[in-house]
Amino acid sequence: MYLHPGIIRDVFVQAVYSLSDNKLRTVLSILGIAVGIAAVMAVGSVIQSAREYIFAEFQTYGLKTIWIYRDWGDDNENKVVRQGSGIDNDDFEVIQHGCCSAVQRASPVVYSQKYTVTVNNGNDFYDAPVEGVGLDYLNINNDNILVGRNFSRNDIEHRKEVALIGLKAAEELFGKNSSYLNKSFRLYKRKYTVIGVLANKKREIIAQLGIDNYDINGRVLIPYTVYQSILGSKDVHTLQAEAVSMDKTHEASKQLEDLLQRSHGGRYNYTTETMDGWINQAKTYLRNISLAGLFVASVSLLVGGMGIMNIMSTSVIERTREIGVRKAIGAQNHDILFQFLMEATYVSTIGGFIGLLLGIVAVYVVSMVSEYDLNPSWSMGFVAIVVSMLVGIVSGFYPAYRAAKLRPVDALRFE
């Protein structure tokens, strides 16, 4: 099919004339498309921003993280009731000596049954989640030290009563804007010296979704060996590890589980959790929101598309005689088809651009009224414009095809 270059300008001029002849109908169709495209743009941008936020928060766990702990339900499976957590320091040592090829690093995590423990500095009391951890804990969790230092090998081996605390914990204990290093507080009747303060982590969305209510910025970390001596046991409650890469997380958890099964003679069952699993869950969740948004968008695009089909059908009928004249002076069927398709596409693309603007405004409005900083997604905007053009082509096709197929004699006789 060959299109004469002159036709594109001609068709544009024609489209402008004929569309301005039917102003109300044209405006309604444009609006239909605009609402649909605005929905595509707004939902797409919000999802995009939400994805960025959630993944930023997932980073605070370390994307390659694996947690492995005893499945306490194993007591019920006809097994003898077992004491202990099913993980101990010897297991950790084996991992440290490179038992598991897919594991980059690991840290024991020891915590009390009560989960939070009251700490105090004499006057201020504070219920804190306390954890006993190893050297690599900060690294695995992407934690940053604001001031001070990490635990040393010496701290851990010699059970030094030192602590790393979250910024929020520091402020609770010692007040804002003071210096926290080398201050001390009491925990289980012993005195701990602050050797470092951890930067705050953002987990607002995760907390709001109720996925994890752990008070991350209020944490108090001490060497796991110290916590074990307080609790009077060599138990490690959770082993936290980092896989060598994202796609090795499952292999790594398998290796860790096998190791624990072997060293404890299969007496315990274990549960493993990976960030990878969480990420997939979040992806599903976001996909469902997208689908809901897509549904709203497709309904309004459908309405807009039907509007375009309607104005184009009317336009074809009103201009039957003109079509006859064009054919009489030499227009091929495809010239007529192209003319009406272009007209439909102009309407829908104008609707698309208006919708794009509405969508951007909507994103900024949501951004202002909500506590989240949202940004319009430009890739979504591109998709929106392409979609609006497609809607025009699809909904304009049937009327355009009918126009193209008109017999010139019949069209010329039309009153």
Binding site: Y2, H4, P5, G6, I7, D10, V13, Q14, Y17, S18, D21, R321, E322, G324, V325, R326, K327, A328, I329, G330, A331, Q332, N333, D335, R407, P408, V409, L412
Partner: protein
């Protein structure tokens, strides 16, 4: 130039068959000027549509400048109309809203002529029909006679062999009609073959031959 051999055309209105042309044979030489006359419903427009390649005959052969039109595809018919035929209608049939110049350019747009040549030729055609200075008027801003002049400019701009005019003066007063006929005579003198339907003897007088049609058949050809 035009050669119809035993051409028939029947319309079907539901169950009813309306024979509009019955075994018509006609030869029109290059440069001829033919007027077709006859009562209403006698088949004049049907004959014109077939000659103009707007409609196909049911039976018979039609050769236009040696080309077998009866065997042509839709696309070839469009091309024949574009290059070899110029149409002039009773109701002018200018494309509304666009100006005279763009109306005259239209056949060249479909012929793929480049914009500069298009414009130049359109202006020349408009000058020939005496509409210099009216290039930017739309149909609504022109009188009937002027609209028909634009239509004539549009019909001749692709330099066709044949001009087909179905009652070209049917909507015009007699003064304007005579002016339009002067233009036809001028075009014919320039070598154009013209086939024209008319009800008016005054108009038919400008033709070289008058063909009388009745009940779908030619019953008289008169030279004048």
């Amino acid at each position: 130039m035009i050669e119809l051999q035993d051409v028939s055309k029947t319309y079907h209105l539901g169950e009813v068959r309306v024979p509009a042309l019955k075994h018509v044979s006609l030869k029109v030489e290059r440069g001829d000027f033919v007027a077709i006359m006859g009562p209403s419903g006698s088949g004049k427009s049907t004959l014109m549509n077939i000659i103009g390649c707007l409609d196909a005959a049911d039976e018979g052969r039609y050769l236009l400048a040696g080309f077998p039109v009866s065997l042509a595809t839709h696309s070839e018919l469009a091309e024949l109309r574009n290059r070899h035929i110029g149409f002039i209608f009773q109701s002018f049939n200018l494309i509304p809203r666009i100006n005279a110049l763009r109306n005259v350019e239209m056949p060249m747009i479909y012929a793929g002529v480049n914009p500069e040549t298009r414009r130049k030729r359109a202006l020349t055609a408009l000058a020939i029909v005496g509409l210099r200075g009216r290039e930017h008027h739309t149909a609504a801003q022109l009188s009937g006679g002027q609209q028909q002049r634009v239509a004539i400019a549009r019909a001749i701009v692709n330099n066709p062999d044949v001009i087909i005019a179905d009652e070209p003066t049917g909507a015009l007063d007699s003064q304007t009609s005579q002016e339009i006929m002067q233009l036809f005579a001028q075009l014919n003198a320039g070598g154009k073959t013209i086939v024209m339907v008319t009800h008016e003897v005054d108009i038919a007088r400008h033709a070289r031959r008058v063909i009388q049609v009745k009940d779908g058949q030619i019953f008289n050809i008169r030279y004048q």
